[in-house]
Point group: C2
């Protein structure tokens, strides 16, 4: 079965980009994507999400520094499974996080801990956000720092809010092949676990 549709084509096209050009991008495009995200449904429509756009070079440096320190602690700990180390190293993913200073904007996505289904709602909205960025020709990455507390402090975020993800946004400075996906038949079942579905 061949699928045709615009949303599918955006989803297929999008890759997680770790290297960015520092060229400025249109703030309007970033705000377009956030406007799209905030149309998402949320638990009891509490709209638990908040976004801090970071474009200040000094702030980006401080965020990068604290994230890299957190990564170093994480990698030195025993919490990192061997398969993950292998996966990361095969992709050149290291403790260095240059995208945190190179990308023209970082979107810091926060969620209100007191809202119902706060994490679920916020990540659903992040799905909307990524597709809308892709529509505007902007690359992105969902980067979850190991130790987000210091980032929250740097940005003056109140205690009720949790850092869900940092999304660098900009034009890509690398070419990337999309990571392989499982086939539809491997992830969709009919009426019962493992019961195959006839895919037309």
């Amino acid at each position: 079965m061949e699928f045709k549709g615009y949303v599918y084509s955006l989803a297929r096209k999008r890759r997680s980009i770790r290297k960015y050009r520092s060229d400025p991008i249109d703030l309007g495009d970033v705000l377009y994507a956030i406007s799209t995200a905030i149309q998402a449904p949320s638990g009891a429509n509490r709209q638990p999400w908040r976004f801090i756009l970071v474009d200040d070079p000094d702030l980006k440096r401080r965020i990068r520094r604290t994230c890299e320190i957190g990564e170093e602690k994480f990698y030195k700990s025993n919490n990192v499974p061997e398969w993950f180390r292998k996966w990361a190293s095969e992709r050149g993913i290291s403790l260095d996080k240059p995208f945190l200073t190179d990308a023209p904007y970082l979107i810091i996505v926060l969620s209100n801990k007191k809202a119902p289904y706060s994490k679920e709602s916020t990540w659903l909205a992040i799905g909307y956000l990524l597709l809308a960025l892709e529509e505007k020709g902007l690359s992105s990455l969902t980067y979850t720092p190991s130790e987000p507390k210091e980032v929250l402090r740097i940005l003056g975020v109140p205690d009720d809010y949790k850092l869900e993800v940092i999304i660098p946004v900009g034009k890509p400075a690398e070419e990337k092949v999309k990571e392989k996906r499982l086939l539809l038949k491997d992830v969709v079942f009919l009426n019962r676990w493992n019961n195959p579905i006839n895919i037309p």
Copy 2:
């Protein structure tokens, strides 16, 4: 600022629908939306999501029954804040979950508990899924049952998987005004919490 773009227009248009016509819908459209969802990024590309499509009337009845029993326990407990009871009752949301039997398909979304960022990745993919359903003119709801264990048992799901959400899919049997959203300026800040951004 007025935003123009297809993804935004889909996000604006989508409403959470609780009343469905039982008319059959095209299985291809549902699979299109799942194909879109599985293009989403995930922690270490582990693709923790699985989907069970339920169209069997007897299974839908059993799922509805167990969900309604769970809701009754939940509503009778002391875990439900007053503001939530009020919010739900103003919208006619009750213990009855007719959408679980009326919608032609239920998409049961599962996540592999052992994958990294399993919940985050799966909800991001649910964002993709809802937009792709909307693109095909299909309504949806993200329904999170209070007691998912029995649903998992009915469907024979192994212990490694968690139920994230049940999404009824079909044609709407109600007209709905979209719930109000906060304004962009209320949820986006520049470089620091509460620092307003100049929206062009």
